[in-house]
């Protein structure tokens, strides 16, 4: 598979309010392939959001390189191409919707890059259909639920027809219903449209849906692998301020006490099966 995002020795340094230099990212090496669903987890301040912002050139590396489809994010001419290829959805659904009518907002991106009027219409309709919001095309965003607003935000990005969508804690401010809506939508876009997804979250049950999980801590890439591989490291995750699914945690405790259980348990069924075998 083709590489869509390539990050080499990426370091991001900023100065805080007390003029101290802080390394938000520290020597990250990473490759994301076309069509992958990658979850990025990490505690607050682990650098996961900063990393995400490098992927569509909202931030530039202090050291190292970030290549999107081979385009360097530090090269000014690449900027708008990169942002068309990699769309970004942010945490607060209220603060990323520009227009007072749903379809007008979805049209905002295509309008910015000068898509012809007739094509904008088709793009907007397709994007709203893809997130299941066609019925709300003429609604006012502030009357929608959190999950619906966030789906509108995703549609707004889809209308730019990106190859990759980066979602920066899209469910942090939503209720369980809204969280479900977003995870289902994103998964569908990944499976059916082959859109590459980079999904930043601190909900481990959402990360479980990904093909690959990247664990961030103190600006470094601490661990990566399939959900099974990553969530088996219960104590390492705990040390990073994260948690593993209950089944993985209990399995780990029981192994500690000498019970012989198979490796890679993350679901309740797997644990119950392994105990009662």
């Amino acid at each position: 598979m083709q590489t869509i995002i390539e990050v080499k020795n990426l370091t991001h340094v900023y100065t805080d309010s007390e003029n101290k230099e802080i390394k938000a990212l520290d020597g990250i090496n990473l490759e994301i392939r076309q069509g992958e669903f990658v979850a990025v987890i990490g505690a607050n301040g682990s650098g996961k959001s900063t990393l995400a912002r490098h992927f569509n050139a909202l931030q530039r590396p202090s050291e190292g390189v970030c290549l999107i489809e081979g385009m360097d994010t530090t090269v000014e001419e690449n900027l708008w191409d990169i942002r068309q290829h990699v769309g970004m959805v942010f945490q607060n659904p209220d603060n990323q919707i520009v227009a007072a009518i749903v379809e007008e907002d979805v049209a905002f991106g295509p309008e910015n890059i000068g898509v012809p009027t007739a094509e904008i219409r088709t793009r907007v309709d397709a994007a709203l259909a893809a997130v299941g919001m066609s019925d709300y095309a003429k609604h006012a965003p502030h009357l929608l639920s959190g999950g619906q607003k966030q789906r509108v935000a995703i549609a707004g990005v889809l209308a730019l027809e990106p190859k990759c969508i980066v979602l920066d804690e899209p469910t942090a401010m939503l209720d369980p219903q809204g969280r479900k809506e977003i995870v289902t939508t994103v998964k569908k876009l990944n499976r059916e449209k082959g859109i590459t997804v980079v999904y930043i979250t601190h909900y481990m049950e959402e990360a479980l849906q990904a093909d690959r999980i990247i664990v961030m801590g103190e600006g470094k890439l601490k661990m990566q692998g399939t959900p099974k591989e990553v969530f088996s490291h219960v104590r390492e995750l705990y040390a990073l301020g994260l948690e593993a699914p209950l089944a993985a945690k209990i399995a780990d405790d029981l192994r500690q006490s000498g019970l012989n259980l198979q490796q890679g348990i993350i679901t309740n069924e797997e644990l119950a099966e392994s105990i009662c075998r």
Partner: protein, 272 residues
Amino acid sequence: MLTDIALGQYYPGNSLIHKLDPRTKILITLFFIVAIFLASGAVSYGILWGFVFLIILLSRLPLMLVLKSIKPLWIIIVLTMVIHMFTGQGENVIFSWKFFKVTQEGLEMGLKMSMRLILLLLISSILTFTTSPIVLTDGIEALLRPFKRFGVPAHELAMMMTIALRFIPTLLEETDRIMKAQTARGADFSSGNLMQRAKNMLPLLIPLFISAFRRADDLAVAMEARCYRGGEGRSRMHELVYYGRDYAALATVFVLIGLMAFIRWGNALCVL
């Protein structure tokens, strides 16, 4: 609840007036205002009233709804009337008591002035009743576009209005929430003298401003992420198009202006 306040006063509908291009409606409103100031004499005013009621009829707005738009300014209207009545100079005294004196000229002037105000209010509220704020913004932008070369930032103004429309309800909700949170901490927003009250507003206003700035910051980043780089090279999903009805409507209002001018200066022309 603060969020109960309806934004703008758009009254959805599908009438001829609703369907007119926003540019047409803005222009009609402006030309009608010109006509109001050209009007002189009872016949002129009669025609103007007729024109306004015709539009209301065509717009299928409830008459009471449109008339209600006079309400917020009725004090000013009555005051205009009274002031002109008592201060107007003239020969034909209708009524006098001590140094108060009402002349026919004064009365006529008062009527004329308050009628102008009412007509102005009616025509502009018909505009806002039949045009959603968003469409209105599009219309203003399109009308201002030719003035860009003189430095009028048409796109920027329209973008600001769009964002304001989008965020007013959000900020109202936020105000409601912060107010409740501070009330729960014993804040009192309604008692004390003026200075005291202004000071009491700080726990509401400071978080509100901080939140507004944070939102602005977030929004700017989100807009940039969606390739926003100003008005250059932008296309639009909805291009405004003039239809036959727009030309007909504009023609009608020109006839109206012509009529007003004729009634005002027509006699002079006849003499010539």
